[in-house]
């Protein structure tokens, strides 16, 4: 483990496979294909929240995940959401729904979505992010920092947490994640 990171160039992502200890508690990490946009409400936030109904979402203006029809809104700030979808054409769909009360910015090229699971995940996250994870209910989200890397994360369901990091920070984030998970083991799908 230590050897892999010692010889791996800093800008190169962690190679797929098992890293660190091989325990039954180990953590699995994979990348999810998703398109991403930022949605920024103007002054009329109520209308933006009302219009989200058209996408099947009850939009929460807080650090929470609000799910809709093949779309998810993650609160990143007051009147601001990171919107993710597995479908193509997200930007057009959002712009049609929310203009002119909110602006949409395409982020898909700049962001990477990761999903982690495994028995040791809470212990790994405790080393990564400065958050009180015990207080996180399902769907709770946070925009914070891990090893000086800005990221947005949320508790997706009982066993899975998801992360959004800048694409150019992926190698550094994987390195930090692998170090935090080393004592339990990391199964990185690549």
């Amino acid at each position: 483990m230590a050897d892999v990171l010692a010889v791996l160039p800093l800008g190169k992502p962690l190679p797929p496979g098992l890293h660190g200890a091989e325990t039954f508690e180990r953590v699995a990490l994979c990348r999810l294909p998703a398109d991403a946009c930022a949605l920024v409400a103007g002054r009329d936030r109520e209308t933006v929240i009302a219009k989200a109904k058209a996408l099947g979402a009850t939009l929460c203006d807080g650090p929470r995940r609000s799910a809709g029809d093949n779309v998810a809104f993650i609160g990143t700030g007051p009147g601001r959401w990171l919107v993710l979808s597995q479908e193509s054409g997200l930007f057009t769909r959002l712009d049609k729904t929310f203009a002119p009360e909110a602006s949409v910015f395409a982020q898909g090229g700049g962001l990477v979505v990761l999903e982690a699971s495994g028995p040791a995940l809470p212990a790994v996250l405790a080393k990564l992010v400065p958050l009180d994870l015990e207080k996180f209910a399902l769907g709770d989200a946070a925009t914070t920092t891990a090893a000086h890397i800005n990221l947005t994360l949320w508790r997706h369901d009982e066993n899975h947490w998801r992360f959004v990091v800048g694409r150019s920070f992926l190698a550094a984030f994987l390195r930090a994640f692998a170090c935090a998970a080393a004592e339990y083991g990391l199964d990185w799908a690549g």
């Binding site: 807080g62 650090p63 990143t76 700030g77 007051p78 601001r80 400065p130 958050l131 009180d132 946070a142 925009t143 914070t144 920092t145 800005n150």
Partner: protein, 89 residues
């Protein structure tokens, strides 16, 4: 030190950037002693031991300016609000 952000909840101070005193108000540029007043506004700050109203930027979180009422002796925080709300009040 944990700072209760109005949006994010209690977060470590390392997520914030410190700006300082939240109380100075931009002087009237048309006033006859504007140069003097602007000098004070830009350069002069109190350094109180005790209750203080200050600005913190939640740079690694919701990226909002937060006005924090903090005791500089005990670090006890009694109130926080978005800076824009403080200006409106």
């Amino acid at each position: 030190m944990l700072i209760p952000c109005p949006y994010c909840g209690a977060r470590d101070a390392e997520e914030f950037s410190y700006r300082g005193d939240a109380t100075p108000v931009r002087p009237d540029a048309a006033a006859p002693d504007a140069a003097e007043q602007f000098h004070d506004y830009v350069y002069l700050r109190d350094n109180p031991a005790g209750a203080f109203r200050e600005l913190w930027y939640h740079s690694a979180g919701c990226r909002r300016w937060v006005e924090v009422e903090r005791d500089t002796l005990t670090h006890a925080i009694t109130a926080t609000r978005f800076a824009a709300e403080g200006r409106r009040a």
